[in-house]
Amino acid sequence: MSLNIARPFGTKPAGSSGWGSAVTIAVRCVLGLLAIAIIFQMLIVVEARPQDLITGVHGMIDLIRRAMPPDFSQLPKAVWPTLQTLDIALFGTIVGVVVAVPLALLAAANVTPSRYAYYAARAIIGFTRAVPDLVWALLFVTAVGLGPFPGGLALGVHSVGMLGRLFAETIEQMDMAPIHALELTGARRIQVFSHGIVPSILPSLLGIGLYRLDENIRSSLVLGFVGAGGIGFQLLSDMNLFQYQDVSLLLIIIFVIVLGAERISAALRERLA
């Protein structure tokens, strides 16, 4: 049995034009060559030398041998930097949420009170997000000196951008019908906000905030490398002093923190959904 598929009058089936199919093949060839060229320039620019990996194996094995077994006697010494790392992330997340919520309300097209406020809020969010947290940390270390505080500030400012954008998108996707319905009951603007907008978006905002905390914990580990305190700073010091058994202990702690934060954050977000 043959299928007779109806076509609108005057149209041709796909691929019926000889010129059309030749152009399509040519375009595909060009795109394929372009992709290959991009991959080649990438390998050249990053100076990729797989043979170095093979020759470097000996050094890696030596490093791992010297790092084993981890020196668990140094565990009490690692408690304070670990707490610093977690608190840097918490500080950064709280600062980020507190600043990002009002910014997001200005930056969400459906609830913003004015166009100027909208563009100003979008500009702040874009700028704080575009500059990486590591660069913010370098700037704050220069401004306020070494320690966990510049780390917290760096994560806070960067989180404003990241959270501001996600919060604004969440608000823009909110169902506005209940909000308009509440406005028409004669409720005041602030009541419409607290009784309509907040309950509608709060679970999403908390979920995003928790996810950001999880990200910030990972980031705060790295910020120590530029002098912003926490476990990263300890890790760098031990590496410089060739204390590899201490380094392996710190890596285990980092692994536990990252995994634990990820699991707890995921579980809490699941409950909020």
Binding site: A181, L182, T185, G186, R188, Q191, H195, G196, P199, S200
Partner: protein, 247 residues
């Protein structure tokens, strides 16, 4: 009482959506508005709630001309004017009771209600409005878990919590099955009678208008085609409203 005098609305693109519209809805009366798509039914309700600004005419809510109000005065006037939409528009994550009580928010300006708290004095009345619509046992349930008919009844209870003098309904039964539709219309009729509320209800179902309305208003191309007691409305007149649309 709701009175609409010489109401006209012209959209920025020049299209006339309403022309010289005259309508009165007395307390205790249920008036059904019939008309084809784009005839101006919803536009009329939007003008009355002042979400659209009429080009000409007046809308009187008792002694207040809504067209002359702005800002805080308009907000206060809206307290007496409740509206039920085709889709119930509840805050899905809040409880049924909270949704009903928010209907009364406009009368409270305490710090507590500003911060998201419900006015304590409105909780008992909210429960009784829920009982009126037959949903007392669902008070603590999340609004997002309700069926379409239940959600619509909650939105009616919220409207009652407003203690309105005029109740507008924009196709309140359009998305409901016939049984639920009958239930909602019976409820609106009962509220009009017992609470002396003026009810203006946009409908598409002619049979519901014949059964529950005191008066039927037909709209065609933004003008009143007829405004008659339901017993005097012929099916032919109603059919003409929709034939015009098809043409």
């Amino acid at each position: 009482m709701l009175r609409v005098n010489d109401l006209s609305l012209r959209y920025p693109n020049g299209k006339l959506a309403l022309t010289d519209f005259e309508l009165t809805v007395e307390p205790g009366e249920l008036v059904a508005v019939l008309g084809g798509n784009g005839s101006g039914k919803t536009t009329l309700l939007r003008c009355i709630t002042r979400t659209l600004r009429p080009s000409a005419g007046e809308i009187w809510l008792d002694e207040t001309n809504l067209c002359a109000l702005e800002g805080e005065k308009l907000r206060r006037a809206r307290l007496a004017l409740a509206i039920i939409w085709q889709h119930p528009s509840l805050v899905r994550r809040r409880t049924v009771l909270a949704n009903v009580a928010t209907g009364a928010l406009g009368r409270h300006s305490t710090l507590w209600t500003t911060l998201g708290g419900l006015p304590a004095s409105e909780l008992e009345p909210a429960r009784s409005y829920l009982a009126d619509v037959g949903l007392a046992d669902l008070a603590e349930q999340r609004a997002g878990t309700l069926s379409g008919g239940q959600a619509q009844r909650v939105s009616i209870a919220r409207a009652l919590a407003q203690r309105p003098r005029v109740l507008l309904a924009d196709e309140p039964v359009a998305s409901l099955d016939p049984e639920a539709a009958d239930e909602i219309m019976r409820l609106l009729q009962r509220l009009a009678r017992s609470e002396r509320i003026a009810v203006l209800c946009v409908l598409h179902q002619l049979d519901l208008a014949y059964t529950y309305a005191d008066r039927v208003v037909g709209i065609r191309a933004g003008r009143i085609a007829f405004n008659l007691p339901r017993s005097q409305v012929s099916r032919e007149e109603v059919r003409q409203l929709y034939i015009h649309e098809a043409a």
